[in-house]
C-alpha cells in the first residue's frame, strides 16, 4: 500500500511538472525564471494563469471520476461499473445541453448548475432505487436504462435545436475539455466535489462489507441502507461537479480503479484513495498528450480519454470474464 501511494504521488508530480512546462507557447528557461520572479509578466500569466489551473482542472476531474468509479464498482460488485454506465454522466450532459439550447449559456454558471442538477437527478433516482431494491443487478439495469434515456433526450435536444451554432456548442460541451478553465471555475467545482468525496469515504466500510453479497451485508450490523445512499449520492455529486467543470469525460471511472485494484489488495474500501490519485494522474496525462499531439483542431480531452480508456475497458472486461469462468 505504501509503495502504491509513493508511486501514485510521484506519477502525479511528474505529470504536474510536465503540464506546467509544456504548452502551445514554447518558453525559454529565462522566461520560466521570469514567471517565478514576476507574477505580472507574460510568462507568469501563461504558467500560472493558463497551465496551472488547466492541470488542476484535469487532475480534479480525474480524481473525482476515479473515486466515483471505484465507489460504483464497490457498490455493484462489478469492475465494469462507473458513472457513465449508470447514466449519471448522461443526465449531467443532458442538463448542460438543455441549458445551452434554451439560451441559458449567457447566465454565468447556468450550464454548470444544469449539469450538476442533471447528475443529482440521476443520482436521486438511483438512490431511491438503491434504497428500495438492494440487489446490484436491479441498479445496473436501471442505470443502463437511465443512461439510454439520457442519451435519447440529448439526441432530442439536438433534433429540436434551433440553429447549427447551438448544436456545435452542445457537441463541444459533450466532448469534454479543460481548456481555458480559470481558478474561479475550479472554485465552483471544489465544494460539491468535497461533499461527494466525504460521502464516499463514509460509505467505504459498507462497500467493503458488500464483498460478501447483499444478504450478508444486510445482516452484518452496518447501516447498509444509509451507506448505500451515501455511496450513490457521493458518486453523483462527484460526477455532476466533474461534468460542470469539464463536460462529459468517460472511462476514467473504470480505468483508474482497474489500475490500482491489485496493489490495493482488491479491497473495496482501501481502493478509494488510490483510485482518486490514479484518476488524477490519468486525466492530467491524457490532457498533456492531447496538447502534445499536433493537430489542426485542438484534440478534445473527452475524445482523448475515451481513446485511451475504451481499450482499457475491454481489457478489464476480458480479465473479469476470465475470473468469472474460474
Amino acid at each position: 500500500m505504501k509503495r502504491l501511494y509513493a508511486l501514485l504521488i510521484v506519477g502525479l508530480v511528474v505529470v504536474a511538472a510536465a503540464s506546467l512546462l509544456v504548452g502551445e507557447a514554447t518558453l525559454t528557461p529565462a522566461q520560466y525564471l521570469a514567471a517565478l520572479r514576476d507574477p505580472h509578466s507574460i510568462p507568469a500569466e501563461v504558467v500560472w494563469g493558463l497551465r496551472t489551473p488547466r492541470f488542476f482542472a484535469a487532475a480534479l476531474v480525474g480524481a473525482a471520476l476515479g473515486l466515483a468509479g471505484a465507489v460504483m464498482q464497490g457498490l455493484l460488485r462489478n469492475p465494469l461499473a462507473d458513472p457513465g454506465v449508470l447514466g449519471v454522466s448522461a443526465f449531467a450532459g443532458l442538463g448542460a445541453a438543455l441549458m445551452i439550447v434554451l439560451g441559458g449559456a449567457v447566465i454565468p454558471g447556468g450550464v454548470e448548475a444544469a449539469a450538476l442538477a442533471g447528475a443529482l437527478l440521476a443520482g436521486g433516482l438511483l438512490t431511491i432505487m438503491a434504497a428500495r431494491f438492494p440487489e446490484a443487478e436491479v441498479l445496473i439495469l436501471f442505470g443502463i436504462g437511465l443512461s439510454s434515456f439520457g442519451g435519447a433526450l440529448t439526441a432530442l435536444v439536438f433534433n429540436l435545436s434551433p440553429n447549427p451554432f447551438t448544436t456545435a456548442e452542445v457537441l463541444s460541451w459533450l466532448m469534454g475539455s479543460v481548456d481555458n478553465r480559470s481558478w474561479t471555475d475550479l472554485a465552483k467545482a471544489i465544494g460539491p466535489m468535497l461533499v461527494g468525496a466525504g460521502l464516499c469515504a463514509y460509505a467505504g466500510r459498507g462497500l467493503l462489507m458488500l464483498t460478501l453479497g447483499e444478504e450478508t451485508a444486510q445482516t452484518s450490523g452496518l447501516p447498509m441502507r444509509r451507506l448505500r445512499i451515501a455511496a450513490v449520492a457521493g458518486a453523483a455529486l462527484l460526477t455532476g461537479a466533474s461534468v460542470a467543470l469539464a463536460g462529459v469525460i468517460g472511462f476514467i471511472g473504470i480505468a483508474a480503479p482497474h489500475m490500482v485494484r491489485r496493489a490495493a489488495g482488491e479491497d473495496a474500501e482501501r481502493i478509494l484513495l488510490p483510485s482518486a490519485l490514479a484518476g488524477a494522474t490519468l486525466l492530467a496525462l491524457a490532457d498533456l498528450i492531447a496538447r502534445l499531439i499536433p493537430t489542426d483542431q485542438p484534440l478534445r480531452l473527452g475524445v482523448m480519454s475515451a481513446l485511451l480508456g475504451a481499450p482499457l475497458f475491454v481489457l478489464a472486461a476480458w480479465r473479469a470474464a476470465r475470473s468469472w469462468r474460474e
Binding site: L208, M209, L210, T211, L212, T216, L222, S323
Partner: protein
C-alpha cells in the same frame, strides 16, 4: 428462558405465492436445529423471514424475544449471524480480511484477532494470508464459515453450509457448529443430507409444501413414513457402528415391474 429465535404462526408470500404458511419454530441456546425438506419446500424463505429479510404476511418473527422488524441493524447483528446459501465473494481480498468482516463492531486489530481465531476453528489458519480467489470452493466455504463464527453472535443461522463440501469437510463443518452450540450458541441450519441431519442435529424441522410437518428429535422427525411423504424415498433405520443410519432407496419407477 427466552428463545434466541422464534417464529409464531408466520406466513410469507413471495411473488403472490405462499412460501411459508403458519410456521412456528423456536431455537434455544445450546441446541442445533436442522431444517430439512425437498427443494422448494420453503426452507430458505423460512430462515430469511426469521431474520427479517422477508416481510411476514402474518404472524411474528422474534429474535431474543423482540420483533425482528423493530431491531436496528446493530441490534439484529448482535443477536444473530447469518451465512447465506452459495455465498459469492465479489473481490479477491485476503482470507483473514474476509473473515474479519464478521466483526465490524470491533477495532481493526481486535477484528483481525477474532478472524484468525475463527479461521483456526474451521481448520483454515494456513489460508489466512491467501487471496480468496486463489482458494478452492471448499476452502472458500470454510473462510465464509469463519466469517460467521467471527460475528460471535448467540444465534448462528446457516443456509446449506455444506452444499459444496466433500464428506470429511461436511462433518467438520457440522462439528464446528456443534462446538459452538456446546459453548452456548443456538444453531439453525438447513441441510439436504438426511443422514448428516440425522446424526448432527438435536432437533429436526421437516418442511413440505411451505409448511412445517414435523419438529422433533431426529428419530421422531424422520420416520420412514415421513421420509416417504416428504421426499418420496423408501427409508429404513439401520444400526451402524457409530449410531443409527438411514438406508434410503429411490422412488420405484412405474415401469420397473413391467
Amino acid at each position: 428462558m427466552t428463545p434466541l429465535l422464534e417464529l409464531i404462526d408466520a406466513s410469507v408470500q413471495l411473488g403472490g405465492r405462499a412460501v411459508a404458511q403458519s410456521a412456528s419454530l423456536r431455537v434455544h441456546s445450546g441446541e442445533v436445529v436442522g431444517v430439512i425438506g425437498p427443494n422448494g419446500a420453503g426452507k430458505t424463505s423460512l430462515i430469511r423471514a426469521a431474520l427479517g429479510l422477508l416481510p411476514l404476511a402474518q404472524g411474528a418473527a422474534l429474535l431474543g424475544g423482540d420483533p425482528v422488524a423493530g431491531l436496528s441493524p446493530q441490534a439484529r447483528a448482535a443477536r444473530s449471524g447469518y451465512l447465506p446459501q452459495g455465498g459469492r465473494i465479489a473481490w479477491g481480498i485476503e482470507a483473514w480480511r474476509l473473515a474479519s468482516l464478521g466483526a465490524p463492531d470491533l477495532p481493526a486489530a481486535q477484528a483481525r484477532q477474532v478472524a484468525l481465531v475463527a479461521l483456526e476453528e474451521v481448520g483454515a489458519a494456513h489460508l489466512a494470508g491467501r487471496s480468496v480467489f486463489g482458494l478452492s470452493g471448499g476452502e472458500q466455504s470454510r473462510v465464509l464459515l469463519a466469517r460467521l463464527l467471527a460475528t460471535r453472535a448467540p444465534l448462528l443461522v446457516c443456509d446449506e453450509p455444506v452444499a459444496n463440501l466433500d464428506p470429511a469437510a461436511q462433518l467438520e463443518t457440522l462439528a464446528c457448529l456443534r462446538g459452538r452450540a456446546a459453548a452456548g450458541a443456538g444453531v439453525l441450519v438447513t441441510l439436504h443430507d438426511l443422514n448428516l441431519a440425522f446424526a448432527a442435529c438435536d432437533r429436526l424441522v421437516v418442511m413440505q409444501g411451505a409448511r412445517i410437518v414435523a419438529d422433533a428429535p431426529p428419530h421422531q422427525a424422520l420416520t420412514p413414513q415421513r421420509i416417504r411423504d416428504a421426499f418420496g424415498l423408501a427409508a429404513t433405520v439401520v444400526e451402524g457402528p457409530y449410531g443409527p443410519l438411514l438406508a434410503l432407496e429411490g422412488p420405484r419407477r412405474a415401469h420397473a415391474d413391467l
